[in-house]
């Protein structure tokens, strides 16, 4: 943690950024509620992306001083070996452990 590197005071940061981050929080709540109202009613928690998402929410709410790095790592592929061949062109936003099964 690099305390004191932002030129703004705590009060100034809240004054400047509270409203836009309140909006982001409401968007998150709306997204999660939308999943509960899905047409097929499938439980989203079984999706690997949403599993990572839930873990990230817990990290955000924690007191971890490096929560930004930790959230990034929660979505990241932790393996070190290259893939033998291309599986898909595009990333999906969260690492899928099942994709590593040969």
């Amino acid at each position: 943690m690099t305390k004191g590197t932002c030129p703004l005071t705590t009060g100034q940061i809240i004054d400047e950024y509270f409203i836009e981050n309140r909006t982001r929080l409401l968007e998150l709540a709306a997204f999660l509620e939308r999943l509960d109202r899905s047409a097929d009613g499938v439980d989203a928690t079984n999706d690997f992306r949403m599993a990572a998402f839930r873990r990230a929410l817990q990290m955000i709410a924690s007191n971890a001083p490096d929560k930004m790095d930790q959230v990034q790592l929660l979505f990241s592929d932790p393996t070190t070996e290259p893939r033998e061949q291309l599986d898909t062109k595009s990333a999906s936003g969260a690492w899928n452990p099942a994709s590593e099964v040969a």
Binding site: M68, Q72, D77, L86, K89
Partner: protein, 282 residues
């Protein structure tokens, strides 16, 4: 304030975008070769693209008084095809002497496959053999952390590679430190949804300092903002950062890096002596 757009895919943008960037202070654009959103069918397709980057785009940029420089390669999204990569790599050298070519890029990994790594290494070797700067793309989203680690490990094995002649781009919170600690330049990409916002980029500047850090819009054919760098400048001012620090990030650092190519100049500004003094100090 003048700024240098370090990474923009202007072939996908309009002439109006060049004008808007110029009005916002942009004096130079650095355009890496990239994926067109679909795979090219032959090496001939790449040659047409290289001609566009070295003949047509510099003229279009000049209409807005913007200096255009470019980087050539077969991009990471097509790096899995080793046969095509070998053919394209054979054709790149004849373009390297063109006046606006500053290096090889954006090369790197996409899904971190063995073929992609081989194609990356072939490009790096071409750059080393021809004394070119290198611009590295790092993978998106969940692949970024692993891809950046593997990229750095591979680069560090390349004989004769000097870290200060390589910019590893699209850094984020979990990769910036490993890039800077290894001595490379880096870039924060101000791109909606899949990369970083201006606020997060400024957070990283506050945490990691200003040395060897650049920013860019990476504007392309997707949802993106050609004037994202001026938006970062506004974000820095919003927090009370000095004009000197802003200028270092948006102008001096990219300038220092690009001057190493031996081809970068901004004659219209009449500041050649100042540019050389910055280069001499690095």
């Amino acid at each position: 304030m003048y700024y240098i757009e370090m990474h923009a895919h202007m072939v996908s943008r309009t002439t109006d975008d060049y004008r808007d960037m110029a009005m916002a202070g942009c004096v130079a654009v650095s355009e890496p070769a990239f994926w067109a959103g679909w795979d090219r069918s032959s090496a001939d397709g790449f040659e047409d693209y290289f001609r566009q980057l070295t003949e047509f785009e510099p003229k279009r940029a000049a209409q807005a008084s913007i200096r255009h420089v470019t980087w050539l390669c077969l991009n990471p999204k097509e790096g899995e095809d080793r046969t095509l990569a070998a053919e394209v790599l054979k054709r790149i050298p004849k373009y390297l002497d063109r006046p606006n070519v500053v290096g090889i890029g954006e090369i790197g990994l996409n899904r971190v496959t063995r073929n992609e790594i081989a194609t990356l290494n072939d490009h790096v070797q071409l750059a080393l053999n021809s004394n070119q700067l290198i611009l590295i793309h790092t993978p998106h989203l969940e692949d970024k952390y692993k891809g950046t680690r593997v990229t750095i490990e591979n680069l560090q094995k390349m004989k004769g590679l000097r870290a200060n002649r390589v910019l590893i781009d699209h850094a984020e919170e979990h990769t910036v430190n490993m890039i800077l600690e290894a001595g490379f330049y880096t870039g924060f990409t101000l791109y909606p949804n899949t990369k970083v916002s201006a606020a997060r980029a400024v957070d990283m500047v506050e945490k990691y300092g200003t040395e060897r850090i650049t920013v860019s819009s990476a504007c392309d054919w997707g949802p993106s903002v050609p004037t994202a760098v001026p938006q970062l400048m506004l974000e820095m001012r919003r927090r009370g950062h000095s004009e000197e620090i802003i200028r270092k990030i948006v102008f001096e650092n990219p300038l220092e890096f690009l001057l190493q190519s031996g081809k970068f100049e901004l004659p219209r500004l009449g500041i050649q002596a100042a540019l050389r003094s910055i280069a001499a100090a690095t």
